[in-house]
Amino acid sequence: MATEEAVLPDIVRSRTFSVGARRRAGWAPAAVLFYVLTLALAVIFVFPFFWTVSSSLKQPFELFSFPPTMFPITPQWVNYATVLQKVPFLTWVLNSLIVVALNTGGVIVTSSLVAYSFARFEYRGRDVLFLITLGTMMLPSQVTLIPQFVLFNALGWINTLLPLWVPAWFGGGAFFIFLLRQFFLSLPNDLDEAAVIDGASFLQVYWSILMPLCKPALATVAIISFIGSWNDFLGPLIYLNSPDKFTVALGLNFFQNVPESAGMPMQHLLMAASVMAILPCLVLFFSFQRYFVEGIVLSGIKG
């Protein structure tokens, strides 16, 4: 554990997480003003979520009563169960979990191997390839979308989950490769060179020395990949067309367009479904907040 801390890049280790230790404490008028401003902004950011949760617990007639009530009269937890009856939400969760797990697995295994290659090996064309890799981050997905669709269509993969996770096993994408390469470069080279001289193979070095040391960075990659893949909409929209194959994000949009039965409003159910769609990422974020923030910061630091 102590070694993990020691090898974290400087910027991550100290600065970000001990903000403003130097600032004078105290309650000057300006400080109060700033505090109130921050608090007001926080309310603006939280209110939509509050309203969502509150609406998700209301009875149908309360939704359209005027003026709207802040809190439900009696919280209707049954709304959440109703969602599960109306649409195959649990199937969507399962599909999302399959995609997320296979996607994140692919990203972790292959992006770390590629990053290892970029960081520790010398060969002709390496730097050019790395630049090309960085360049692909700027490329909007729109331009590759149509041929990828044609490709997956030719393979007969439409309306399967395959197009959503198989590409992750081919290097995992430029962002993660970049992130892990930076991390590998911050680790001292002596360790793995010594191991190679002692007869370890490169795969042993990768697996027994480098991977254990970069657990924090791998956690970052895993979380960002999880959230990106859970929240993805365009991919599922293009590749999936029967509701039993949908992921949560696509299912949520499908649910919006389910016709109301006998003029009954559905907003409370839509809000309940939204809460359930948001929850996994929130839980993940709160559990591993540190890694997440570090990763984003690390990626932008070279600017």
Binding site: T110, R124, Q142, I296
Partner: protein, 322 residues
């Protein structure tokens, strides 16, 4: 197979032609080079299958009439001609996308910077505030669109209720063709201000050297002077980074519009990415869709190039040329 060749290469004096091509001079270097390529293989394949190949294919499709099956029929520049001169939705959707970006990018950047500055003051509860500002970035865009549709509800939505308290009759927002774009802009700003850009700004702010601030203070510089003359130049690389990513992100706007308004009412929120999607995946005009995508990419490249060339005038790199 590759393992075998790596072992052959370790025998002294047996550096193969392949190894030489890889830039190796000694057996160990040759072995390392071959392993380097081997480990790179997944990405090399991925690059070819999922990026470079599709880019070339899409370029080819853009000169064809193609429905996603069978053989594309070559029609030369007809798709581009159609886009520029024969598509009623092309220019309006492009203009609308720019209009949207012209507000979302600068206001969003400013907002992210303000939030970052507030969070960098070391006040109590900074971690909680940071999490709160970041919440929208964790939320699926579909859910954001749904919950804001509900917040913007013309009669029972809390936004119009709040407006009525101050005596303003709120508009129909997402259901009103004159207000839908503004509503989407508000949603996007709320959703992105506290996101990655803010975190990157915070990191940038913390990289501003203490000594400069102290020196300026001794010279009698005020809060604003210090911000204007020290902080801003020092974080200008961060600003450029966020600007470029912000422009790309804004021009790609898709999901919130697709879910909240389906591009309506009366095409008021029909963005360029929606246009590409509809042509390619609703009408299966893959050739025309590819042409639209290429126009889009070239536009983005021009924008990024302009930003990078202008950046030499306003971005300050403390470490010299890097």
């Amino acid at each position: 197979m590759a393992r075998a060749s790596a072992e052959v290469a370790t025998k002294p004096g047996s550096i193969s032609l392949v190894a030489r091509l890889a830039g190796a001079k000694t057996p160990l270097q040759a072995r390392k080079a071959l392993w380097g390529y081997l480990l790179l293989l997944p990405w090399l394949l991925g690059l070819i299958i999922f990026i470079v190949g599709p880019i070339i294919a899409s370029f080819y499709f853009s000169f064809t009439d193609y429905e996603g099956m069978g053989v594309p029929a070559w029609i030369g520049l007809a798709n581009y001609q159609k886009a520029f001169f024969g598509d009623d939705l092309f220019w309006p959707s492009l203009g609308r996308t720019f209009e949207y970006s012209l507000v979302v990018v600068p206001v969003g950047l400013l907002g992210s910077l303000v939030l970052a500055v507030l969070l960098n003051r070391g006040m109590k509860g900074t971690n909680i505030f940071r999490t709160v500002f970041f919440l929208p970035s964790l939320t699926p865009a579909v859910a954001l669109a749904l919950l804001w549709t509900w917040l913007f509800h013309p009669t029972v939505g809390p936004i119009n209720l709040g407006l009525s308290w101050v005596g303003v009759q709120g508009p129909g927002w997402l259901t009103d063709q004159h207000w839908a774009l503004s509503a989407l802009i508000i949603i996007s700003l709320w959703a992105s201000m506290g996101g990655n850009a803010m975190l990157i700004f915070i990191a940038g702010l913390q990289g501003v050297p203490e000594s400069l601030m102290d020196a300026a203070e001794i010279d009698g510089a005020g809060r604003w002077d210090k911000f204007r003359n020290i902080t801003l130049p020092m974080i200008s690389p961060t600003l450029l980074f966020n600007l470029i990513l912000g422009v790309i992100g804004a021009l790609k706007v898709f999901t919130i519009a697709f879910v909240a308004t389906q591009g309506g009412p009366s095409y008021a929120t029909w963005f360029f990415a929606l246009h590409i999607y509809q042509q390619a995946f609703s009408y299966f005009r893959m050739g025309y869709g590819s042409a639209l995508a290429w126009i889009f990419v070239i536009m983005l490249l021009i924008f990024t190039y302009i930003q990078l060339s202008f950046s030499r005038r306003w971005v300050y790199y403390a470490g010299g040329s890097d």
